[in-house]
Amino acid sequence: MARAVTTNRKAFNTFLAWTIGFLIFFPILWTILTSFKTEADAIANPPIFLGFDWTLENYGVVMERSNYARFLVNSIVIAGGSTILGLLVAIPAAWSMAFVPSRRTKDILLWMLSTKMLPAVGVLYPIYLLCIQLGVLDSRLAMVVILMLINLPIMVWMLYTYFKEIPVDILEAARMDGATLREELLYILTPMAIPGIASTMLLNFILAWNEAFWTLNLTSVDAAPLTAFIASYSSPEGLFFAKLSAASTMAIAPILILGWFSQKQLVRGLTFGAVK
């Protein structure tokens, strides 16, 4: 029997969910609203919610003062590049771990994940020095490689979990049916794994897009992505809230839109392994 849920209860749960959702979304909403205020309205006390003079002035100033397009291109290249490079490494890795496991497979997976528990700042110095030595400081290439490595454990884990869900029987059936390894991958495994690969790709793209620690520390001009663009508008005194908000809104807009259109895939990606 399905669990009995009363209408009142349902209404309450719905209300609660919307409230929590609104609370989480509120900072983003506030940022967007502030970006349309004058600097004076932005720091007004008590704060003004909607009843201010809407202006596009901040966007104008931001566009004038910095080259938004360059930051945007850098973000796309770094997030996209690290995602594609990551998939090229993670797919074969997850594939072999899922279908040809060895005695150490579980250990390797856990060890990989454990690298995510290390504070990133702990390896900043060596990586910074390496970048200088190799002459790749403030280069897109270095950022692509570093962000790929940072997110690789998560990619391998996600893909491994998806591949594990594909029953080995089906692959064996294909083998019995005369499929070669290439045909098995092409006609059976890939079509079955596409939802998993897509959510992994999407989640990783977002993670790389939002990554700020490495991009702020290892880029300055040539390879600086949108995270650096936002940072360049923050000042210790917090004097230019409206402009900072405009810059932030412009930086998060692309990923917000992408996230909106791919909600379903994202939810699947974020709950990987939890729902079977």
Partner: protein
């Protein structure tokens, strides 16, 4: 043609020998059932024949040719899996067509075979559906359809009915049996269900811990089990195995008597006991009796009209001509 011969076939996983060297002959057109308890190596043996596992030693011949190192697809065997193993992203039609597509068969011939398989398996109306939209029985039929269109030398079934409910299982069992009579192709079938083995097989292979305990027709195994294991495994309800003085009377360590070979009386008989549970099935009554030395509980198959309740005293007399005698090693005494 589908003659399969195993010569000294052996399988080890690491240091663990799951199948010690074993010989077996499967004749063309025969329906052979591998039966045994879980973990006895029956599925492994089937997978060795299929080529999904590599042998650790010995040789597998199919139609006289050495197939030991031939890849699965080239052995002209078709396999039906317990989980059906259908391709979830393909329609029924594409699932059935897949082996032919891999073989590069021309489209017209593919269609002809799909239509005829679908007609034979009552799948014509479902050809454009996906496996997810089918019931368990229909999925199993698709899996069988995918196997028959290849016209293989032999079919391999790995517990194909385990995932179906009881009623469907009986129906599918009959369909598989009829399919075998119609196609007259070799079939090798793995099950842990001795009823399936008895009803389907021309030849049963009883396995325990990778060893073949006995090979024979269902009735051979029922009438003359070679040892106590086969005696206890084949037949339902199980044969009663009695040790101690009752066995010594017959110059044996263990004697076996099937539930249907015991005469029941409420007044007198050779052994006296108390009714534990009586299962009234209408046509039969299975009575489980406690208190008989050397075998507790003893099971009796009595007629449907027998009136027995928990706690009743009951007398049993074995039909001596149906008694099985086993020695200290559990082997049959002729």
């Amino acid at each position: 043609m589908g003659r399969i011969t195993l010569e000294k076939v052996q399988k080890k996983f690491g240091d663990v020998e799951v199948i010690p060297p074993l010989d077996l002959e499967i004749n063309d057109g025969e329906f052979v059932v591998f039966v045994g308890p879980s973990g006895c190596g029956k599925s492994t043996l089937l997978r060795l024949i299929a080529g999904l596992e590599d042998v650790s030693g010995g040789q597998i011949n199919i139609d006289g040719a050495d197939a030991t190192n031939v890849p699965p697809a080239k052995r002209s065997l078709a396999m039906v899996f317990q989980s059906y193993a259908l391709y979830p992203h393909m329609t029924v039609r594409k699932n059935i067509a897949f082996p032919m597509r891999m073989a590069g068969m021309e489209q017209a011939e593919q269609n002809r075979r799909i239509e005829s398989a679908a007609a034979a398996l009552n799948l014509t109306d479902y050809l454009d559906r996906r496996p997810g939209q089918l019931s368990g029985g229909q999925r199993q039929r698709v899996a069988i359809g995918r196997a028959i269109v290849r016209e293989p030398a032999a079919f391999l079934f790995d517990e194909p009915l385990s995932n179906l409910d009881a009623a469907l299982r009986v129906g599918m069992r009959m369909e598989i049996s009829e399919l075998h009579k119609k196609l007259d192709t070799t079939m090798v079938y793995v099950t842990h269900d001795q009823v399936e083995a008895m009803t389907l097989a021309d030849k049963i292979v009883v396995l325990r811990a990778g060893h073949i305990e006995q090979v024979g027709s269902p009735l051979d195994l029922y009438r003359a089990p070679r040892n106590t294991f086969v005696a206890g495994f084949i037949g339902s309800p199980k044969m009663n195995l009695i040790e101690g003085s009752a066995a010594a009377e017959h110059d044996a360590t263990t004697i076996g008597i099937r539930p249907e070979h015991l005469d029941v009386s409420k007044t007198s008989g050779k052994w006296q006991g108390t009714v534990g549970v009586a299962e009234h099935l209408g046509s039969d009554t299975f009575i489980h009796i406690h208190g008989i030395e050397g075998c507790d509980p003893m099971t009796v198959r009595a007629g449907g009209e027998v009136d027995a309740k928990h706690g009743d005293t009951i007398y049993l007399t074995p039909q001596v001509e149906h008694l099985h005698r086993f020695d200290a090693q559990g082997l049959r005494i002729a």
